[in-house]
Structures are given as structure tokens and as C-alpha cells.
Symmetry: C2
């Protein structure tokens, strides 16, 4: 008998932005409503492109710990400058808050609910607990636990986040499976001993081609969260 890729897995840790929610639709919609007469999709993509680099500057120690909302406010102003837009304080606040109500992919809430029948299901995201709780309430995500970056004062792909979640649940890293649509997140998780499941989200960037399509190193490759539930026997 071959070993199932989920033998011993007890906790599923989900990336949120892109994996369970459609940030492109949510953020481009918010930009369109807030700043008329702009290529809202291009603005949303550019904002999102600045996300990884500024988090990496926190983890490198170049800048001290700051909550995601504060980092997103900074990158929002950079993008506004790039697009030649003057943002009011109210518009800035509203756009940063829009990340709390981006829509879930249609399969996300029902998929999470099915997977919860067999596994402990947690968000493991660079958002804060407050942001992720708003997102969950807005979309009906029935998390057992909301793992926000402010619990650890670190951003993925830092070890503290992945191993911190395993420690909270009193399990070994190999008993946790990271679920994400970003290979970098999964590669980091695997390097710390977690299992990995890649979820396809071809429309993550709003139809612009996505080169992140999942490596053969992942334990599971799923087309969406309902497919993941099928593959994990839920």
C-alpha cells in the first residue's frame, strides 16, 4: 500500500489573499468606485505587486514590525503617485479596508466547510487577526482558528508563522498541510517540514497570465477547494 499524501495530517493552514479570496475583483472594484477614470485593474495589480517586497523588508529587518494595513497604506500611496492620483485620507482608508471584504472564490466557503469535517481548518495569512475575521464574517469562512501575522509579529515566508501555528496546535510541522496558490509560500512551508497543497487560481490576476502554476514537489495539486476536499476524502 502506498502512503496517502495526507496520512497524519491534522491541520490545514490556508493562505487567504488569492487562495480563498479573489483580491483582483475586490480591489479593482474598490479602486473603480473610489477613483473614477483610471485603469482600475492595472492599479490593483500594481498595488498587489508591491505587497511581497514590502513584507520582505520587514522580515529582513530593514523596517520594524508594522501591521499589514500600515504597509498597504504606504504601498497604496506609492502606486497613487505612480498613477498621478492624489488620494484623500478617506479614500486611502477605504481602499486599505477593502482588503477585508474581498470576495471569496465560489468554492471557498463550501470547500472549507467540507474540509472542516476531517481537519482543523485555519487561516494562515499575512493579514491581521482583525482583518481576517472581517474577511471570514463577510464570506462565511468557518475557520476553526484565525492565524493572523500579528500573533507572531512575522510575515510569511518566515518560519515563525508556519511553525508557530503547528506549536499552537501541539502538532509536528508534518501534521500541518499548507494550502496556497503561491508556490513560494508552499516551498517555504515544505522547507520547515509542512505538507503542501497547491490550489489553481488561474484568474488570480484578473485574467493576466499567472506563471505560478504549482510544482511537482507539492503533496497535492487541486483545481479548487472542493476538488481538494474530494482528494482528501472529505
Amino acid at each position: 500500500m502506498t502512503r496517502s499524501p495526507v496520512d497524519g495530517v491534522r491541520v490545514l493552514a490556508f493562505d487567504t489573499f488569492g487562495t480563498v479570496t479573489d483580491w483582483f475583483t475586490g480591489i479593482s472594484g474598490a479602486v473603480r468606485a473610489t477613483i473614477p477614470g483610471l485603469d482600475a485593474g492595472a492599479f490593483a495589480r500594481e498595488w498587489r505587486r508591491r505587497y511581497g517586497p514590502i513584507l520582505a523588508r520587514v522580515e529582513s529587518g530593514e523596517i520594524g514590525w508594522r501591521r499589514l494595513d500600515d504597509l498597504q497604506t504606504e504601498t497604496l500611496h506609492e502606486v497613487a503617485d505612480q498613477f498621478g492620483v492624489a488620494l484623500t485620507e478617506a479614500a486611502s482608508t477605504s481602499l486599505v479596508r477593502a482588503w477585508r471584504t474581498i470576495p471569496g472564490w465560489p468554492d471557498a466557503a463550501p470547500g472549507i466547510r467540507r474540509l472542516k469535517g476531517r481537519f482543523v481548518v485555519c487561516a494562515l495569512s499575512n493579514g491581521t487577526v482583525a482583518l481576517l475575521t472581517d474577511m471570514a464574517r463577510h464570506n462565511g469562512f468557518d475557520w476553526d482558528f484565525v492565524g493572523g501575522s500579528d500573533l507572531w509579529g512575522h510575515y510569511k515566508p518566515a518560519r515563525e508563522t508556519y511553525c508557530g501555528l503547528a506549536a499552537l496546535f501541539e502538532v509536528e510541522p508534518a501534521e500541518v498541510m499548507m494550502v496556497a496558490t503561491h508556490q513560494g509560500d508552499l516551498d517555504a512551508a515544505r522547507s520547515f517540514g509542512l505538507r503542501t497543497a497547491f490550489v489553481e487560481r488561474p484568474l488570480e490576476w484578473g485574467g493576466e497570465e499567472k506563471d505560478d502554476t504549482g510544482s511537482a514537489d507539492n503533496d497535492v495539486h487541486a483545481t479548487d477547494l472542493c476538488d481538494l476536499a474530494d482528494q482528501l476524502g472529505c
Copy 2:
């Protein structure tokens, strides 16, 4: 117009042992199944009486931070000695784990679900995240967030727990209402600026009279969580 006791409240923080769950029934049942021929109710009460004092020793600095399970293991052995019982390792583990599956009061799961429609609902307990997650899954408690003591490395009534939860939710302490059947928990919460709701649990000690019946200082006094939902307009 008079001010409602819940004006501005956004987050409800629930004590768990006694307030949402019936530890007496759960623990005395586990003792009865594990150690036959004993006054299981008396054993359960004695174990519970040793809970507050050992947590207080952690908060006083007399002993370093240890997870609740470890503290409960220590007090369990003290009670076993007192009752003249030799506990096996398996029996000890099983009894300590029994705190994870104590039954919810019948009104708890439906009450929490109703309250969630208007408020962010969180466990704020001296249990760990893993313990509280097991308890929630066992009883169908739909928490938005599980506030375990291991997130702060402190036990109630320490300030860090109450104010730590408010900080995570990016709200002022006055926007959080502590819900408990223990006046000491509520008095501490109020001293740090939280609102308070007392919940009657006359059977908490298994029919032995309970002198903790709630002070007039609380913002709300409820007979159970469905009554609380009624009073808070949910």
C-alpha cells in the same frame, strides 16, 4: 434616551469553563469512567477548586509559564493523592484531555450563533488554543476567534489577556464585553475598561450551592446565552 449597556460594543469575549460548558458533568463523568468506586463529583469539585490557585501562582511569578494541561496534570495528581488513588499515566492523560470535550450548556451553541449575527464572538479562556479548538469542534461553538492563554502567555485575570484581545481586534477595551459566570473574571475585565455580562450557571458545581451570583456592577445580567442574545437585540 438612556444609553444601552451595549452601545459601542463590537466584540464579545466568552469565558469557557463554566460559562459556555458544563465542566462538572464532563469531568465527573470522566472520573467515574476512569476511576471506579470513587465519589466522582467530589473528586471533580476538588480538582476544579485547585484551578484558580495554581494559575495565580503562575501570574504571581512563583512558577514560570506553563500550559493549562501541564498545570491540570499537577493538580490532578494532588487530588488523586488526597483521595488515595494511584493514577496510571494513561488515566492521567485521559482525564486532563477530558477538559477538551466537556459538554456545552444546551443554550451555548445556539446562543453564540445568534450573538455572532451582531458581534464578533471570541473565546477568552485560560485553556490553550488547541484545547479550546477541540472544545469548539466538539460542541459546535462557532467562534470568530479562539483566544487561548498561550497567545499571551498569561492567565486571567491578568490584564494582558483582556487588553490583548482588544488590541488584536483593534478596538478600545470599552468596545469589548466580557461574558462570564465568575464575578472575579468580570471584575478584572471591568477594571481594565471592558463591559461585563454575568451569566447565571446555578448548576456549575453540580448542584452544590454556588455563591457567585453576579454583582450589580455588571452591565448585563443574563440567565443564559439565549437570554443574553435577547437582551442584546440579537
